[in-house]
């Protein structure tokens, strides 16, 4: 982090936006002085109402934390202590900083719970008994406990589903109106900040490259990088942008489905000592994928979409139902283990490119192994074939990348390697499980483009699994919406976006469209 400067006015919402590794969280930790060595602060000053945090003594720092400035962390599950009840965790803050008696503390907690809309009965719950949204409210309540004038929010909604995210942000804005605190809001999601921040700063590689009003940055900004971020991803609502991703000439994929999923069910047995509980992860899901078609499977966390991916990739066996590939029910014909032929025809791209490549092997090994196993390419041509595949996913020069280890590449490059590995087997269908969700915003579109081009060139079908309705809208031909393991709506992408039938789909689209906060914001400002 170098030479970062910005100032926040009293009462405003200041946004700090940047991709992973841009140093935005480091800024926060420097403000609170919570970085541990080897990190040291080598210069500068951080002034809060005129007091320099960096020249404070240790005791003063401890005093100032939470009294003057508090923080809402990204993952509420990590921020809360799993073995203490939330009652204990909130009262801890009140005891240490205010020295309140038990009754006084309880009274204060009741006020706080009212503020963040949690019923007072939940007081003795443990974090794991609460939903993600409720946990985040509890963290918010803890941050508000001492009514500090400034609250830092470090990606407070990133781990949440869109609809819940929306609720939490409403709550924050409402509280701000009531209590008038200042917010420093850190996120990687520029679109989100454009909705409700007053001013924002864009960070890249540890430096602030642009600071300005929301209106000014929203209209394009000065810096090339800001422009790239603004144009990075389309939204789920509104008019369709043209030519964002290459489209095939016709959407007629023939009569015979390539993959047919019929009333697929998957139950997981949750541990329980005498009475094991059943979790119905996938309930009666049926759909078809035609050769060369891209079908989007959209749902929030817990909707069973990843389970469906794993079922089709045959990593786990279904409880009941049929999976037909080219008309053959493979659950009957190859009951226990998938045949080599199936393993060649059906491939999967995983969500996390950091986890799906083995850190001890080179890219060459990753690509060569499947080819050798399936005897697709004679050994003498292997090297050339791999170089070609690498270059077809825009990793060039291929020879350079073939020799790299996963840790020597960026997230985007790794995901391309994962795509190349899948491609090298010339599959008929690719199951892509959230292939872009772990990547930085600015490179997501590039990966989507690679997938879109792929199906045009190779006529491969793709089952595109995502929580992001916007990317499904542009990449997929048809969209299936899942909620809690069941299929709720199914239709051609654009038709579904423009005229959603199901309540849940409507909510999803509304939450992912620009302007969703503006109605609320007008009453809050």
């Amino acid at each position: 982090m170098r030479d970062v400067s910005f100032d926040i006015q009293r009462g405003e919402i200041f946004g700090l936006v940047g991709e992973s590794g841009s140093g935005k969280s480091t800024v926060v930790q420097a403000i609170l002085r919570t970085l541990t060595p080897p990190a040291i602060i080598t210069g500068g000053e951080i002034l809060l109402s005129g007091k320099d945090i960096l020249s404070m003594s240790h005791r003063e720092v401890l005093q100032f934390r939470w009294q003057e400035i508090s923080i809402v962390m990204q993952s509420a599950l990590n921020a809360l202590n799993p073995v203490l009840s939330i009652h204990k965790q909130i009262s801890d803050v009140l005891y240490t900083h205010r020295g309140l008696s038990k009754d006084q503390a309880d009274k204060r907690i009741r006020e706080l719970f009212d503020l963040v809309d949690i019923s007072y009965d939940r007081l003795d719950s443990f974090p794991h008994e609460l939903s993600g949204g409720m946990r985040q409210r509890v963290v918010l309540a803890i941050a508000l406990a001492l009514m500090p004038p400034v609250i830092i929010m470090d990606e407070p909604t990133t781990a949440l589903d869109v609809i819940v995210e929306r609720d939490i942000l409403f709550k924050v804005l409402e509280l701000r109106k009531k209590l008038g605190f200042t917010i420093l809001f850190i996120t990687h999601d520029l679109n989100l900040l454009l909705e409700f921040a007053d001013r924002l700063a864009v960070m890249l590689n540890g430096q602030v490259i642009e600071t300005g009003d929301v209106a000014q940055i929203g209209s394009g900004g000065q810096h090339a990088y800001t422009k790239k971020l603004i144009g990075a991803l389309p939204s789920a609502g509104g008019k369709r942008k043209k030519d964002l991703l290459p489209q095939p000439k016709s959407l007629n994929f023939g009569e015979k489905p390539l993959l047919e999923v019929q009333s697929l069910n998957k139950d997981f047995v949750l541990s329980g000592f005498l009475r094991p509980k059943l979790l119905h992860a996938v309930k009666d899901v049926s759909f078809e994928v035609f050769p060369g078609e891209i079908v989007g499977l959209v749902g929030e966390s817990g909707s069973g979409k990843s389970t469906i991916a794993r079922l089709i990739a045959r990593l786990i066996p279904p409880t009941s139902g049929a999976i037909r590939l080219d008309g053959v029910n493979i659950l009957k014909s190859e009951r226990t283990t998938a045949s080599l032929e199936y393993r060649q025809k059906v491939q999967m791209i995983f969500q996390d490119p950091f986890g799906s490549l083995n850190s001890v092997h080179t890219v060459f090994h990753h690509l060569a192994r499947p080819l050798i196993r399936h005897r697709l390419v004679p050994k003498s041509d292997l090297y050339k074939y791999i170089i070609d595949i690498l270059e077809s996913v825009e990793l060039s020069p291929g020879a350079l990348f073939a020799d790299k280890f996963p840790h020597e590449m960026s997230g985007g490059e790794r995901q391309r390697v994962a795509i190349a590995r899948v491609l090298s087997l010339q599959p008929e269908i690719i199951v892509a499980d959230e292939p872009t969700s772990m990547l930085d915003v600015s490179i997501r579109l590039d990966i989507l483009k690679i997938l879109a081009n792929l199906r045009i060139k190779k006529n491969v079908a793709i089952l595109f699994i995502t929580h992001d309705l916007a990317s499904a809208r542009y990449l997929a031909d048809r969209i299936i919406v899942l909620q809690k393991g069941s299929q709720v709506e199914h239709g051609y992408s654009e038709a579904l976006i423009q005229a959603p039938q199901h309540m849940y789909t409507k909510q999803l689209i509304a939450a992912a469209s620009p302007g969703w906060l503006s109605s609320k914001i007008s009453d809050c400002k």
Binding site: Q29, A30, R33, T34, L35, T36, P37, P38, A39, I40, I41, T42, G43, L54, S55, H58, R59, V61, L62, R310, A313, R314, L315, L340, R343, Q344, V346, Q347, M348, F350, Q351, D352, G355, S356, L357, N358, S359, V360, H361, T362, F364, H365, R369, P370, R373, H374, Y383, A399, A402, D403, F405, A418, R421, L425
Partner: protein, 310 residues
């Protein structure tokens, strides 16, 4: 072909060890003892021969003195290293081999396979190791093979347990799923994809098991449960005690052997620490940084400010 051997795990790893002070000291110490064990006996007296006055203190002729049987202590210590280290490392190797095999298969396949193998592991874990070791060692014909067998039998289960849990955690990772989806055979996934990731665990388990084997073996032999006619560090101590070394005050009959055991274990432990630091570089970097920071206990948890221009 186009794989970079120079950057492969093994090479990166050896480089890491060589660059780590603890690991380097430890390895040098162990290598020194192994070298002495290998070539030392060619330069010493015959360790079994009667050479001079029994129980004579260190002198120019006998650097470490002589034993109650008039044998040269230096020669005995050096040739004792041979069998002791051989048995120690062999046991370490077999413990890891069996542990990796049973623990690995159990953790990878899960389900019924895991149920059966875990039960086996648990049975061996709850068996009291020391009495079993003593009984087996006294019942079987004495000799190095018996010792290895007894030590492996009583020592493998713990490692199998550790490797099993590590394997279970890797089993669910995406890179394993990706290998399965690409059609890779299970045995290949275990050996080529997962085992290299466990290298540090395997290496430190090997070292731990070797230290255990050296200690346990010396203990058994000291009790007279080994082959008392062989020359090992354990029997050296056995004879020293038989000859009432403590009563006669002839410290030179047991100190060299005892010190060797301690030094080898110390060296191996250093290597183990080194492996920890190589695989978890944070341990080192934190220590290095601490030197440059103001020494204050209150410092904990608060980012220090070190201004360059001061």
């Amino acid at each position: 072909m186009a794989t970079r051997f120079n950057d492969s795990v093994l090479v990166r790893w050896v480089k890491g060890i060589l660059g780590n002070r603890k690991a380097l000291t430890g390895s040098l110490l162990v290598i020194l003892f192994v070298a002495i064990a290998l070539i030392g006996p060619y330069f010493t007296y015959d360790p079994t021969a009667f050479l001079g006055t029994p129980i004579s203190p260190p002198s120019f002729d006998h650097w470490f003195g002589t034993t109650g049987q008039g044998q040269d202590v230096l020669a005995q210590t050096i040739s004792g290293a041979r069998q002791t280290l051989l048995i120690g490392f062999c046991t370490g190797f077999f413990v890891i081999l069996i542990g990796a095999l049973i623990g690995g298969i159990s953790g990878y396949y899960g389900g019924r396979v895991d149920d059966i193998l875990s039960m086996l592991i648990n049975v061996f874990l709850v068996m009291p190791g020391l009495p079993l070791m003593v009984i087996l060692a006294s019942w079987l014909p004495p000799g190095p093979l018996t010792l290895i067998g007894v030590l492996v039998l009583t020592g493998w289960a713990w490692n199998a347990r550790v490797i099993r849990s590590q394997m279970m955690s890797y089993r669910g990772r995406d890179f394993v799923s990706a290998a399965i989806v690409s059609g890779e055979r299970n045995i290949r996934i275990i050996l080529i994809e997962i085992m290299p990731r466990m290298l540090s665990l395997l290496a430190s388990s090997f070292i731990g098991a070797s230290i255990y084997a050296i200690g346990a073996q010396v203990g058994l032999e000291f009790l007279g449960l080994g082959d008392v006619s062989a020359i090992t560090w354990g029997t050296n101590l056995y004879w020293a005690s038989n000859d009432l070394a403590l009563l006669t005050g002839s410290w030179w009959t047991f100190v060299p052997t005892g010190l060797s055991i301690a030094l080898v274990s110390f060296g191996l432990t250093l290597v183990n620490f080194g492996i920890d630091e190589v695989t978890n570089p944070r341990l080192i970097s934190e220590r290095k940084w601490r030197k440059h920071l103001p020494k204050s206990r209150l410092n904990n948890g608060i980012t220090p400010v070190v201004r360059n221009n001061d």
